[in-house]
Symmetry: C2
Subunit: 345 residues, 2 copies
C-alpha cells in the first residue's frame, strides 16, 4: 500500500488541532494525540491516527463527548472506579492508569476500572507506562460484539484485547493481543484486496466456517486458540462489565470511537522481593528466550512487544507512513476544519 | 480404556493411608487426597489419583518432602510470600490460597506466592474455592520445561497452566487451561495407542513440526494459539519465577511430583460494586452465552468448567473410573505398603 511519510511531531500537531475544532479541550486533545501517534509509531496502525476522523465522527454523532467529565464513583487504598462521563477513552483510561500506578506505589497493588468512556486506543500504551514505573501492568477492554463464544454462532464478545507488561533492564516486555482470532479491520482489508482468509478465523452469519472475507465481515469472528481463547474473551468481558458496571459487549454501538469498560491493574513486585532481584530474574528469562534456537522458518525468537519497539525506532527516524486512504481522510478534515495537514517528509 | 469404578470416599481413604505409609502427616495426606480425588471426580484425570504413586516416588527420591514446613517470607496487608520447605504442593498452595482469600476479604485484594513446593495439582481447585468465597480468583503455576517460545526450537516453558474463577448465582465459572497446545501426558497416550497427533501441537527434537507422537514426546511442545498463547506461557513464568523467586522452568526436575512456583490472587468485587449487582450482571453474561445459537457441529455453548461439573455429578453417583494401568499401580502400592485397595463398585 502506498503511503505518505510524516514526522511524528507534526502528526501530533495535526491531531491536536483537528480535535480542537470539534470542541475537545487542548489538554485532552494532547493526550489523545500522543496516544494515537504512539500507536502509529509502534506500527499498531489499526489503533493509531487512522482513528482521528472516526473519533471526530463519534463526537459529532454523540457517541462520545468532546469533553470528558471524570468522577470517582468508589475508592479504597487499593482501588478506584471511575465514571468517564462518556469522554474520549484515552483521557479517561489514562486517568485510571495513573490512579492504579499511584496506589500500587503506596499500597502495593492498584486496581482501577473505568466505565462510560470512548475507545481507549492501544492497551499497550497503559501497561507499558505501568512497567516504566517499575510495576507489573495488566489491562482489559471490552468492545462491540463481534466474536462468538466457542461452539456458538452469534456475536457475543468484542474483540476484547488484553495486555500485560513487565519491566526489564531495558524496554518492558509488552503483550497486547485481541482475544479474537483476527481483527474485524483485517477482514475488511482482505475484502478490499480480494484475498481469501485463513481457515479458523470466522463464521458466516449462519454459523458456517468461511474463508470468504465478505461473508466473514457480515458474519461472526472466532476467538483465538479455540476453547482456550474463548476463556480469555470471556475473562475480558467479566473484568470490564459485571465487575465495574461497564457496558456489555452486545450493548456497545459498533463504531471506531466506542468501547465498553476498561480495567487496569498494577502490582508492585516489591511486595514479594527486592526490585533488583526481581529484575535480575526477569533478565534470566529474557536471555533464555533470546538465546533459544529458532524453529524452522524463523530467524529469531522475539519477546512480546519487540517488533513494535523496532518499528517505533524506524518510524521515529523515517517518519510515520500514512496510507493514502487515511491521508485522504486527513485532507477532508483539513478542508472542512481549516487545519493544516502534516508536512510529508 | 477399561476401568475399575470406585466410590470417592473409599478412594480418599486409600490415598490418605498410602501417603501415611511414606511419612506424610495425616492432616497433610487428607489435603492431598481431597485434592486428587476432586480432580478425578471432575474428570481431570491427569491431575487426579493417577499421581498417587508418582508423589510417593517423588518423596522416596527426595524430589519432594513428606512433611511440609511452611514459612512466611514476606507479608503485607495485601500480600504474602510463602516458602513451602519443598512440601507437597497441594498443602502449600492451599495455605497460600487461604491467605489470599483472607486478605481479599479484609483488604479487597490478596496476592500470595509460594516457592519451594511440589506439584500443586489442578489449579481449578484453588480458584473455585476463591470464587466460593464471593471473590474473583486467579492462579498460575510453572513447571518443568517442555514448551518452546513461539518461533523457537527448545524447551523453555513448562505447560504452565493458568486458571480463573468467577462466582455466579450457581456454580462458579472456572477456566483452567495449560498454555501449551497439548499435554505431554496426551502425547504419551497417543504413543501407546499408535495414533497420529493433530498438526500444530509439537516439534521434533530438531525443531521440525511433527505429528508422530514418539518424535513429539522426545521433542518440544508448542504453545496454544501461536504467538498469543506464547504470551500466556511467558506470563505464567514471569508471575511464578521472577516475581516470587520460584524455580525457573528449566531448573524444575521433570517428574509428576514437581512444580516451579505458584501464584494465587483474589479480588473482592465489592471494591467496585455491591455484590448483588455484580452477580446480576454476571448472570446476564451467563444467560447470553447459554442462549447463544450453537455453531455447526456443536450441540450447545458451554461455560468454562461446565463439562467438569457434569462429570463430577455423574462420577459422584456412578463412582470414579480408574484406568486399569492406574489400578495396577494401586495394587502395587497396596502390596508394598499393606494398604487396602478401594472397593470397586
Amino acid at each position: 500500500m502506498e503511503a505518505v511519510r510524516v514526522p511524528k511531531e507534526d502528526l501530533h500537531r495535526f491531531c491536536v488541532e483537528a480535535f480542537g475544532k470539534v470542541g475537545v479541550p487542548k489538554e485532552e486533545a494532547k493526550i489523545v494525540a500522543e496516544h494515537l501517534v504512539e500507536a502509529s509509531l509502534r506500527g499498531v496502525d489499526s489503533h493509531g491516527v487512522i482513528r482521528v476522523p472516526y473519533y471526530i465522527e463519534g463526537i459529532k454523532k454523540g457517541l462520545v463527548n468532546a469533553k470528558s467529565s471524570i468522577s470517582i464513583v468508589k475508592e479504597t487504598p487499593v482501588s478506584a472506579l471511575l465514571d468517564g462521563g462518556n469522554g474520549l477513552g484515552e483521557v479517561v483510561a489514562k486517568k485510571a492508569m495513573e490512579i492504579a500506578i499511584e496506589k500500587a506505589k503506596t499500597s502495593g497493588v492498584g486496581l482501577a476500572g473505568a466505565k462510560n468512556l470512548g475507545h481507549v486506543g492501544m492497551l499497550a500504551y497503559y501497561t507499558k507506562r505501568v512497567a516504566e514505573n517499575k510495576l507489573i501492568g495488566f489491562a482489559f477492554a471490552n468492545g462491540p460484539a463481534l466474536v462468538a463464544p466457542w461452539g456458538g454462532a452469534e456475536r457475543v464478545f468484542g474483540t476484547n484485547p488484553l495486555s500485560y507488561a513487565f519491566p526489564t533492564k531495558n524496554k518492558p516486555i509488552v503483550l497486547d493481543v485481541a482475544t479474537s482470532a483476527t481483527a474485524h479491520f483485517k477482514i475488511k482489508v482482505a475484502m478490499i484486496r480480494g484475498e481469501e482468509l485463513a481457515p479458523g478465523l470466522a463464521l458466516d452469519k449462519d454459523g458456517n466456517p468461511t474463508t470468504d472475507p465478505t461473508k466473514a465481515f457480515e458474519g461472526i469472528l472466532l476467538p483465538f486458540g479455540a476453547h482456550k481463547g474463548y476463556g480469555f474473551s470471556l475473562l475480558v468481558t467479566l473484568m470490564t462489565v459485571p465487575l465495574i458496571d461497564g457496558t456489555f459487549d452486545k450493548d456497545v454501538v459498533l463504531h471506531a470511537s466506542t468501547q465498553g469498560g476498561f480495567f487496569v491493574m498494577a502490582i508492585n513486585p516489591t511486595l514479594f522481593r527486592e526490585y533488583e532481584e526481581f529484575i535480575e530474574d526477569i533478565q534470566r528469562v529474557v536471555d533464555t528466550i533470546k538465546s533459544t534456537k529458532p524453529a524452522k522458518g524463523f530467524k529469531e525468537v522475539l519477546l512480546p512487544g519487540e517488533i513494535e519497539e523496532r518499528v517505533a525506532e524506524e518510524r521515529a527516524k523515517k517518519g510515520i507512513p500514512i496510507d493514502l486512504e487515511v491521508w485522504k481522510s486527513f485532507e477532508e478534515l483539513s478542508e472542512e476544519y481549516g487545519v493544516e495537514l502534516p508536512k510529508p517528509l
